[in-house]
Symmetry: C2
Subunit: 336 residues, 2 copies
Amino acid sequence: MDNVNLKKLAGELNLAVSTVSRALRDNHEISQETRDRVKALAAKLGFQPNPHASSLRQNKSRTIAVVVPEIQNNFFSQVLNGVEDVAQQKGYHVLIYLTHEDHNREKDILKVLRNGRVDGLMISVSNTTTNFDHLEAYRQTGMPLVFFDRVCEEMDVPHITTDDSKASYKATEHLLKMGCKNIAFLSLACNLSISNGRRSGYLQALAKHGLGNKMIVECGTDDEVNRQKIRKLLQSEQRPDGIFAAIEKFAVNTYEVCYELNICIPQQLKVVSFSNLAAAALFNPPLSTVIQPAYEIGKEAATILFKVVEKKMLLPNEKKVTIASQIVERKSTGRS
Amino acid sequence: MDNVNLKKLAGELNLAVSTVSRALRDNHEISQETRDRVKALAAKLGFQPNPHASSLRQNKSRTIAVVVPEIQNNFFSQVLNGVEDVAQQKGYHVLIYLTHEDHNREKDILKVLRNGRVDGLMISVSNTTTNFDHLEAYRQTGMPLVFFDRVCEEMDVPHITTDDSKASYKATEHLLKMGCKNIAFLSLACNLSISNGRRSGYLQALAKHGLGNKMIVECGTDDEVNRQKIRKLLQSEQRPDGIFAAIEKFAVNTYEVCYELNICIPQQLKVVSFSNLAAAALFNPPLSTVIQPAYEIGKEAATILFKVVEKKMLLPNEKKVTIASQIVERKSTGRS
DNA sequence: GTAAATTTCGAAAACGTTTCCGTAAAAAAC
DNA sequence: GTTTTTTACGGAAACGTTTTCGAAATTTAC
């Protein structure tokens, strides 16, 4: 029942397989009359060309892969949303792969993708990735590759990022403006270019305002460990009066510890965080956030990837795209 | 550079293509010595078999499709996480499609998938879907299909859901226990089996406790419209002292309106909602939630789908799987 | 010793498309 | 009226893999 294919259509219509194929693709070598006849029967029988045969012959799959560290993270799911929008509109399919911040998984995934399964790949690298050989190997095959958010600066492929460093600078400055003298930064592992940007924005702001007392706490995936570190930080001698969280999760951990220790936000501690959570406005107190243009990043990255896939020339400004993040000031950084 | 294929390997090794193919698949008809030789060269050249040729020949793609209404929604991204875990472990690939709650998109997607691109499909249907012909047509092709969360009860394919009705009953009872006399239900459009479950749980609880004054408000995707409806509800004569939101978004809308109208939660209004947001604990006040086992649903649905794909028999209790939701009581339903 | 079974491999068909090439018939050019 | 071009289509190769069939070479059975 399933196997309605070109041969079947051809048989039914007394035409050659090649003619049917051409008719369906609106080839001008086929008369309008025949085209209509073919299409009518195809529609009637619900013919859908076999994508594997098609891909094999044409050496393209109309599929792209998106590789991200995780998906529960609001940022990445919004990115994916943007990607899928563009892909669906262009008639492409989207394969999704999660690395769970594991370099080895990332390597395995890249390896499997190096064989024509997809026409292109966009990736936000895992934060345990320090070696980029697997990406280089992928690129060597000539397949289109685009980085977004967590990029490998060294590689000469399109990057789509947000202005992490600048946004971070502004967020830090915002804390200063609201009266903080002693700001701690909850950082991700340092091998990430992304965290470096965020960290350097923080450091730049401190330097600019003549504050040398940087406090950087490296947090990770384990909530309890994070809380432990934050607890220690908030109970220390020179305890900060402001916290800038590199990712939302750390802000959540901060809130938890503050509840636990009865530290009032924003009176005793002001908090700002990178976050794409719409519900941040409902937090107690509402959390000031640096919102990344996640959907736009996804959309832009996909658009550029498709341009590369379709071998269109990229404009110079499409090789490194930066989309601005936006600070939303809320009560967590309000004046006492 | 790219095209290292069986023929190339065969040429290099003075073997037939068929021998190389078999050697790589550890066919017992090939001597251990030859197998090793072949594998060594394959590894050296980084050979990856062309998946389209493979899929075409074997008539299977080692790929499944996941069709969901949206992905920003925490629930679905957690489901996807579960699915991807199982898939990656089994060496399958995952295609993702978003319907954006649009029945027509859903139809188009299903149509394109009806041709061997995937070995199986799992779907949570859009809430604008009332007609299931497209799903029936898909099933007719004999391809494996699994429903999760938003199911089509009528179709005889595996369902993986949570105990919506029961959880809803419990949540309503919880509100009653906390002193509510007048509970409103913020509902999704009624054609969804899912919302029917949640609604009926609510109604059952009211009936059980002899409360006839049901208040059902149908909300949708537009935040402003929702707020409008909630505003009207909370300003009405018999304004409720409890709100039960069928989805997280409506709870957010409720909070927003309460802030706006200076209605105190939980003193004046208690709120509970279906939600998978970890940060619900940080809300002001912390939101009581019905947490769905999203990750588990994804994992279970994928596991069952793979069983069907691999033509294993399903146990009777795998045809309809229900995984319990869990109520987390927080301040939003606390005693004044 | 021959017959039978086993091991190990090669040739070729097959999957369903797309596309290259060829070729009748019709139309246009002169 | 002949030649050239155009139109409309058919035949077959090709994509890279898997698998069927077959067949040497080796081993085992008797």
